[in-house]
Symmetry: C2
Subunit: 329 residues, 2 copies
């Protein structure tokens, strides 16, 4: 096999067929045959479908890589919607000249995460574009999940508690740190992870959980703004209650970012019936992925996102506007 | 609204939400809300799923644009698998600086094709990458279809007739002509079109149709090679019988391409029970999309793709190897 991807790997011919058979099908453990255009799947009558294209740069970072993100990110979007993830598609756009060894590492990551989450990668597409017409590789995964119970499509209600499953902003800070690694030394790792294991913890409380979301692009702040937009209520957060790891605080101070807007890739934020909040936090903290879970705020009548600071000060947290931090996920 | 796409249109914040609401949701006629990660769909227990990323360049060409392709291409992949297309996802990767007016035209095309095919675009994703890190726009569509009957997963059998629904190589030739338009003048248009209308014509013959495929990348030749790989038989084509439009022949002669390998985006090729071949061709020709339908060859014991030429000559048609024609679809 060659060292680098060439245009012929995306032309529908012999080299593409060989790449699919020898790398993708073999590593994914499914028959991504080129002789059928579609995969035929058995599902339930109600399914959840989500799609995401991953453009993260750098491709490999502390805590993961674009392949791991491409699986976990889409799995998480299904999970927070209350669905059980079953299938993924995988569509690649690869720049001519891309290292086949690196492609193999990325596909290995995808295969490993898919296996860990018991999802099958069932069909795909491979496009190769000339050099400089795409930067490296972009990966689209579309996920299909089934519902064990009726899909949960609630909205936040006044008085609800806001809970986050762990410390925030890690992924965004880790990517930023990696890009600046010539100027600083850190072992800060992305929190990229599947939320599927936490769903077993949360399952007994499903009737108390109004809405859940994974705070990726735009971070915790933007996700809560989405809760606010969809409901008639606002939120007041307690600044002391929001878990932020010290290295993340450090990166934010150094580069002038607000952790509230930095992406998380292994966290969920939810609005829950306040009566169940303590028990939910307690249950989450018993799980390795939920050790830093915390109640961080309350849904309020005033339709704004506010942060309660020390000394009785409250500051308004705006929706994310401009940002100089592209290709985070 | 601004004139061009900026990084903030992909950051998960206010500008992205506005773009989704004011352009995508409005034009697609569905609520692509940002407050839910997944769409909840009603389907049958068996579904067909296919995915494709469209990287065609130029974005706008005689006979269509990337938006039309992105819908028709994925609809066609479902249709040739025997499924009825219901839903699409739409994931965009857009280069910073892309014209918002052009984006609107592309989305209009997608909306128009989706409506014509009665498919809903139910969820999506928007990523913006910095200038020069993606060339223009790439569109991934993942399609979900349902089966009215049992999915057809046959293979070609010895003695089968090979039928194509129209003249070949138009799309590839039209793209090539457009790229060279400073050197030649032509009105050659892509054949980009949905195959859904032809399926009603073919429906009475479903038990006679072993396998069907749309000959996109790699054209007719590569598609027939896929039939050969999946079955135990070869194919001999009749050169006189293969419909190729004069402008396509001209483009091929001028630029040294073989129409057999040029993409079609509105054609199907199928292997059918030879006893039904004449009736299938006759029925196709009654439909505007099938006027040039033709029986072009036969499945043979010898596991090769051969072309019967005049004077008793037979030449072997190889699988597509290298190609200098990227970003065709």
């Amino acid at each position: 096999m060659r060292d680098t991807i060439s245009l012929s790997h995306g032309n529908g011919g012999y080299h593409m067929r060989t790449l699919i058979r020898d790398m993708f099908s073999r590593k994914f453990g499914t028959s991504l045959a080129m002789d059928y255009d579609s995969a035929v799947l058995t599902v339930s009558e109600r399914i959840a479908v989500t799609t995401d294209t991953f453009t993260v740069k750098p491709l490999f970072f502390n805590g993961g890589d674009i392949g791991k993100l491409a699986v976990c990110g889409t799995v998480n979007d299904l999970v927070v919607s209350g669905a059980h993830p079953n299938y993924l598609t995988c569509a690649l756009v690869i720049e001519e000249g891309f290292s086949i060894a690196e492609l193999g590492r990325i596909i290995d990551s995808m295969a490993s995460e898919a296996k860990a989450n018991d999802v099958s990668i069932v069909t795909g597409d491979t496009k190769v574009v000339p050099k400089h017409e795409a930067d490296g590789i972009f990966i689209n995964t579309t996920g299909i999940g089934v519902f064990n119970d009726a899909p949960s499509r609630g909205v936040m209600k006044e008085g609800d508690a806001i809970i986050v499953t762990g410390d925030i902003g890690r992924h965004g800070a880790a990517i930023l740190a990696h890009r600046e690694c010539h100027r600083l030394s850190t072992t800060l790792a992305s929190d990229a992870a599947s939320l599927l294991p936490l769903m077993n913890v949360l399952s007994p409380f499903r009737n108390s959980i109004r809405v859940m979301h994974d705070p990726t692009r735009g971070g915790l702040a933007q996700t809560i703004h989405e809760f606010i937009t969809a409901s008639g209520t606002g939120v007041t957060l307690e600044s002391d209650a929001i878990p932020i790891a010290e290295p993340v605080r450090g990166i934010c101070e150094l580069f002038g970012f607000d952790a509230l807007y930095l992406a998380c890739e292994g966290r969920a934020v939810m609005a829950v019936d306040a009566d169940a909040a303590d028990e939910i936090v307690s249950s989450l903290r018993k799980h390795p992925l939920g050790r830093e879970a915390a109640r961080i705020g309350t849904a309020t009548p005033e339709k704004k996102l506010l942060m309660a600071m020390p000394y009785g000060v409250r500051r308004q947290i705006e929706e994310l506007g401009e940002t100089p931090l592209p290709r985070i996920c």
